[in-house]
Amino acid sequence: MSVKVTQPRAGEPPLTVVEPAHRLLDLDLRALWQYRELLYFLIWRDVKVRYKQTAIGFTWVIIQPLVTMVIFTVIFGNFANIPSDGLPYPIFSFTALLPWSYFAQALGQSGRSLVGNAGLISKVYFPRLVIPLVAVSSPLVDFAVSFLVLLGMMVWFSVTPTWGVLLLPVFLLLAALTAFAVGLWLSALNVRYRDVSQLMPFLVQVWMYASPVIYPVSTIPEKWRLLYSLNPMVGVIEGFRWALLGKSSPDFTVMAVGSAIVLLLLAGGLVYFKRVESSFADVI
């Protein structure tokens, strides 16, 4: 925003200048760093409230992906006979559902995050980026819980992970960045245009069919692969399957293309978000 906070020399109070002029992009990472405790407390609030509100809180987080997996296995694995690269369909789909559920949740929450925190935004100052950051961070707790379920399934189906498991955090980060980048756009647009939030469930659904959640990448014809890999979640899900199940060897160009797309989306999202953020409090 148009605000300059000059860090004081020792013992002097900070000097803040508020004025209308704006630069193209000033991320103001120092302000974000100063407000890291707020970030932490807001994540903590989201998690606490989520696990407090539902009577079966914790169990619910486990049951949801499990039920989805069972449904997928029955419908797609059995009736539709969708191939699963020679893996048991339940674990094949659950490995994809893990990053996918996280992504869907993070995207939905971040898209709605600014409007959902309208009270905060119109009454207190803090770097607005905190809000979508919180939204993509708090679903990580659900992710961790379902991850334990996956570990149990791997023991059950006697699947041994590869060394690629060490790269899992990288794939998770890619999923988080994708959700964050798209979330930046959606949340900022949603402040202005309230119908954006109605579009979001539709977007998530279409996106799922465009990602290899219920089917393997191998079903996509070779000539469409490059276009297909423009979807960053393709790389993420492939990465998860490779790291945990070790069957299909990953296509690293897919991941590189996906990452490049994410970076583009992220840069654009940051510029757009920063450009409109000073009017959030006025419009919201």
Binding site: V17, V18, R45, G119, S122, V124, Y125, F126, D195, S278
Partner: protein, 435 residues
Amino acid sequence: MSQTVIRVENLSKQYVLGALRHDTLRDQLAAGMRRLAGRGTASPDQNRIWALQDVSFAVDQGEIIGVIGRNGSGKSTLLKILARITRPTRGRATIRGQVGSLLEVGTGFHAELTGRENIYLNGAILGMSRQETQRKFDEIVAFAEVEKFIDTPVKRYSSGMYLRLAFAVAAHLESEILLVDEVLAVGDAAFQKKCLGKMGSIVDEGRTILFVSHNMTAIQGLCSRAIWLDLGQMLEDGPTQQVVSNYLRSNASGTHAEQTWDDFASAPGSDEVRLHRVAARPRDGQPQDAITVLDPVVLEFEYWNQQPGLHLNLSLFVHNEQGIMVFNTAPLHEPVWHGRPFPVGLFRSVCHIPGSLLNDGTYRVTLLVVKDQAIVLSRHADILTFEVQDSSAARGAWHGQWPGVVRPLLEWETELRATLSGAPVERDSSTTARS
């Protein structure tokens, strides 16, 4: 030596009013299409208002400044700009020191979380570090008087407890500059008193405060200097007493403290009786003068009687801001004309309301013209409005809203009946006091 900590230069803020903003993407796209097709206006005449216009002032360290003005005059907008919540359209503000803003109590409170959890959360939202909150924790809980409920979700709190807790967190902010917007109007009288006391002690610590309030007594009690905003512009910046009394005078003239109808035919009333003039004034002043809680108030009514021999009386209903009817009165004991037939002519009836009876606030008077003590000839709703202002002479150290529909000055007596040793007390050691 005091240093300037806030400098505001030609600060202006323009808002686009809601109705013409494109609120859905669909509308926006449709409008874009129309524009492409060359139809519709290129940029619709947007409804813009200046919420703040060329406001400039400077605040020295340790000053406590009251910001007053009518609803929509730009007070909150000013604080929001200084708090960096929104940015100005023009002009700039320079602030030296850490700013804490208190534009609302309980921002970010979550009903499902306990009192303890909310204290930490709200502290972080207001910009306190965790250690700071930890250090102040016991003090906050004690101030809010919620020790027993600290581990209960705040959704189980009474609304008073909730507000007390919310204010308590904010009151323990340690920033050098505090921006406070109308947040003292919370809780019961006892708690308001406590809040004002807390504000007072913050002032004593030498911190700088910008304090927005509609409570003139609190402004007068706390601030030495006041800024008066009207329609986004600064009308006056000076010593509190002067600014406040100018502001109150301008408000009083905005209401119908006096109305006159010179044209008989169009004057309100019935065929029998038409009004000529109505006015409310302090007994020793003019209709545009301010009325304080101590002043006797005079309500005057002049009216033409057109029909000879009518048995007339007026009847007044006086309502306060909350819509409560404070009293109804009629001149049934008026010594000269009551019960006598009225000849044709211009009459004047005056109602005297004693001083120290009405509480401060705005009163609306409804007038009924009654024939034979039974038939209403005409009814004039809210024909007069007058404002009774608080007076610092009328109260002690207490700055909050004085509760009650009326505020009579009553006779009190206190006497010492016995000493601790049980020895009888002589009769003349009793004291009488008026409160």
